[in-house]
């Protein structure tokens, strides 16, 4: 039952594409795996693609927010990509503001944005 979310490394960036509905265990495991991988690879950027995610509740939002803060503590920038309209609407209605979070429409734009940020 316990599937792990694959984390790919491309140059100095980690790429994560969440392809199925997140249960709590998988979300927590992902948090740990990503931080370990950041430590091992000294990657400076992370792109998390949520194109396949069709809802986000307060628990998953908290895990994502924590991942972003923890990554930044470790010196890496995170870009979230592919948030569907329905997800954006429900997040705001839930009262969750992912403030100071870099976002982009899709993976490609996210990688571009991250590259600009890292060069700056």
């Amino acid at each position: 039952m316990n599937v792990r979310i694959p984390i790919l490394k491309l140059r100095d960036t980690l790429i994560v594409s969440i392809q199925w509905e997140l249960d709590d265990q998988t979300a927590i495991q992902f948090q740990e795996d990503l931080l370990t991988k950041l430590h091992e690879t000294s990657a400076r950027g992370v792109v998390i693609d949520l194109t396949s995610i069709d809802f986000i509740d307060s628990f998953i939002a908290k895990v994502l927010g924590d991942v972003i803060s923890m990554s930044s503590l470790m010196g890496a920038r995170v870009v979230i990509t592919g948030i569907q309209p329905a997800v954006a609407i429900t997040l705001i209605e839930l009262g969750i503001r992912l403030e100071d979070v870099m976002t982009a429409l899709d993976l490609e734009n996210g990688l571009d944005k991250l590259q600009l940020e890292l060069e700056a």
């Binding site: 809802f55 509740d57 628990f59 329905a86 209605e93 839930l94």
Partner: protein
């Protein structure tokens, strides 16, 4: 097709089962993708609250028809400790578990009608409805 179905909440996996059931019923009723996401999210919040605060309980999904309008009713019922101060838990950011405190006030905004009945030491019954417009 029955117009009522339910999931017992005992483990984290039951939270996943409850929201999948809700999404399927919402889809069958003809709700659009945004309302499906609202309904799924609301169920996830209520089911997780049962799991976290009451240990176990039940999520029930009912199809409603009123004055020719269809809707979906989510019932979240448990025999847990109950909620001491309803006004407080309906404030954004109030949490006794280090959560965001977004769950209950969020469900109220995501759904059309929202009702809590709770008795200390006996449990909590939350009903939330979304109408198909």
């Amino acid at each position: 097709m029955s117009n009522q179905s339910s999931v017992e909440i005992q483990t984290e996996w039951d939270i996943v089962a409850a929201r999948q059931l809700g999404r399927n019923v919402a889809k069958e009723l003809g709700f659009g993708t945004v309302d499906q996401a609202r309904i799924t999210t609301a169920i996830s919040e209520l089911a997780r609250n049962i799991y976290l605060y009451a240990g176990q309980g039940r999520i029930e999904i009912q199809r409603l028809t009123e004055n020719g309008i269809n809707g979906i009713l989510i019932i979240a019922a448990d025999n847990g400790p109950g909620i001491p101060d309803i006004r407080k838990v309906m404030e954004d950011g109030f949490s006794t578990s280090g959560g965001l405190g977004a769950g209950l006030p969020g469900v109220k905004r995501l759904m059309d009608d929202f009702k809590i009945e709770t008795t200390l030491g006996e449990g909590t019954d939350i009903r939330a409805t979304k109408w198909l417009r």
